[in-house]
Subunit: 308 residues, 2 copies
């Protein structure tokens, strides 16, 4: 069994109504692999950083069981840098700076040892690169999950639809599901996305939870946990995806029932992520904390009804 | 046991992206009592209409077990009329016309026979009138639920806070909970509202479901059902409240566990309401349809997890 993540590893600068950081580790692959590491400790990563990327973070990846053979380090270049400022509601943000740096010419070369990965997570990057990753695999993985965003729908819809036709699980937010399909009803949007060849659609609604649709019109809803304080939402979606994929890879079960469990695990991990800046909260969680949080999610919707 | 609803009975004109109606029965008390009638068939209503209000609708109320002694019919006057137009997302709307008519001088006189009601639902009207209703009761009812809106927070916050201090259950939406407390975090807003004397706070989030908080920091989440088509959201919040209160009155149990069940019942009724214009869908539901819808809500969050 093997589990490969392709995505970004980067620096972020984040400003929220409560605080700010000028430079913190970020990137989709960072959040995905750290979250997944709590469930599946032997991961592979394909990404790119510059010479400025700290060696001790690479050591942390290794200590979490993440193989970094596929992490390209570009001498004399700088890592991808993103800076954003959250509005008072913490649900929306402005991007202040996007310095692509090494990401501008990123060529996701899959090491030979990774080409048989059975679980493949394609983080949010250019869909043509996501396609290129799939082209390099020796066979279709058991499960491919893809994350994307409205930006690619605006400028590369054809490429995006092409890669969507090759994957099993799509994670997007509600506005993106509507943009991708032209349907306002999420039930209809889900049906159209199933027709694109996707087996499972996960609609992430942030503080409003997540919906899972399969391609047989079944649906599952997982709430978000009402939190006293959301400190920094950056990376919550990637953390969700990482927790989910880590759980799926560790159980090696891609049934609808197990997807539902995985979504609870992913949601629990995302609820930790937002409680500190960047990925900090993901570095030192205990299994007890995770189990207790999952129990909180279960209790949140627990109701005893006997129908007459 | 008795269950009294005080609110509006009115005419609405509604325009959605799909269709429009020029004149349909509306008003908070209409939706509340019709929804509640499926669970608690002996209700009392206090409201006001004009001479233009159709006798056959009053007959329908009676046939649903609703006592209309407290429904004032003002000779030579016109019923309250509201007209609104929904935006494409169906989550927001513009009010086009508000003709108060009989509502301008509404004096909610509680008939003697109603003054011992054990369950009291105060629909969204001027908080000074809601206070006046409470003043007329012979003793504090077993459970008083109050619905209100941002409009009263804008122009009558003191009166609103005064009546809130006298009730048990408050239903508002997330923006209103934030406006009422000045807290963005719904967890903190819930704590502040508990300090106002409220035992249960229900935060209605429309298509994103509903949150129930008690005054001991317990929380329950009920999703909204993803629907293929939302035809007309008018009255969904009142229908939710009516289903909930009808269920509570019929079971005569105001524990947290029973509130949770009631919220599922209310959500199921609201999901029917939005599937036709106005209250039309609430006129002819069967118990089988309701049970099947409640089962759908239960299944929506059903997940099997054994924590290691």
């Amino acid at each position: 069994m093997s589990f490969l993540t392709v995505g970004t590893v980067a620096f972020d600068a984040i400003e929220t109504p409560f605080d700010k950081v000028d430079k913190i580790i970020g990137g989709s692959a960072t959040y995905i692999t750290l979250a997944a590491s709590y469930f599946y400790p032997k991961q592979q990563i394909v990404s790119v950083v510059g010479e400025d990327f700290p060696a001790d973070m690479i050591s942390k990846f290794k200590s979490k069981g993440i193989d970094v053979e596929g992490l390209q380090i570009k001498k004399g270049e700088k890592s991808f840098f993103w800076s954003g400022k959250y509005h008072n509601d913490m649900n929306s943000r402005d991007t202040l700076v996007t310095d692509l740096n090494v990401l501008a010419d990123f060529d996701p070369i899959i090491p030979e040892a990774y080409k048989n990965a059975e679980y493949l997570m394609l983080g949010n990057i250019d869909p043509s690169l996501q396609n290129k990753v799939l082209d390099q695999m020796n066979q279709k993985p058991k499960l491919v999950m893809l994350d994307t965003m409205n930006f690619w729908m605006d400028i590369a819809m054809d490429n995006l639809k092409s890669v969507i036709s090759r994957i099993d699980v799509l994670t997007i937010n509600d506005a993106e599901a509507r943009q991708l399909t032209g349907e306002y009803s999420l039930v209809r949007a889900a049906r159209k996305i199933a027709e694109m060849g996707v087996k499972y659609l996960i609609i992430k609604k942030g503080e409003h939870g997540a919906l899972l649709f399969n391609n047989e019109n079944q649906v599952f809803f997982c709430p978000a946990l009402p939190l006293e304080e959301v400190f920094d939402p950056t990376g919550a979606g990637d953390t969700f995806a990482g927790g989910l994929m880590g759980y799926l890879a560790s159980t090696d079960d891609i049934s609808f029932g197990n997807m539902k469990r995985g979504i609870i695990y992913g949601s629990a991990m995302a609820s930790f992520c937002v409680q500190k800046f960047g990925p900090n909260r993901l570095l030192d969680l205990s299994q007890d904390e995770i189990n207790s949080r999952i129990q909180t999610f279960i209790n949140l919707v627990q109701v005893d009804i006997t129908l007459s």
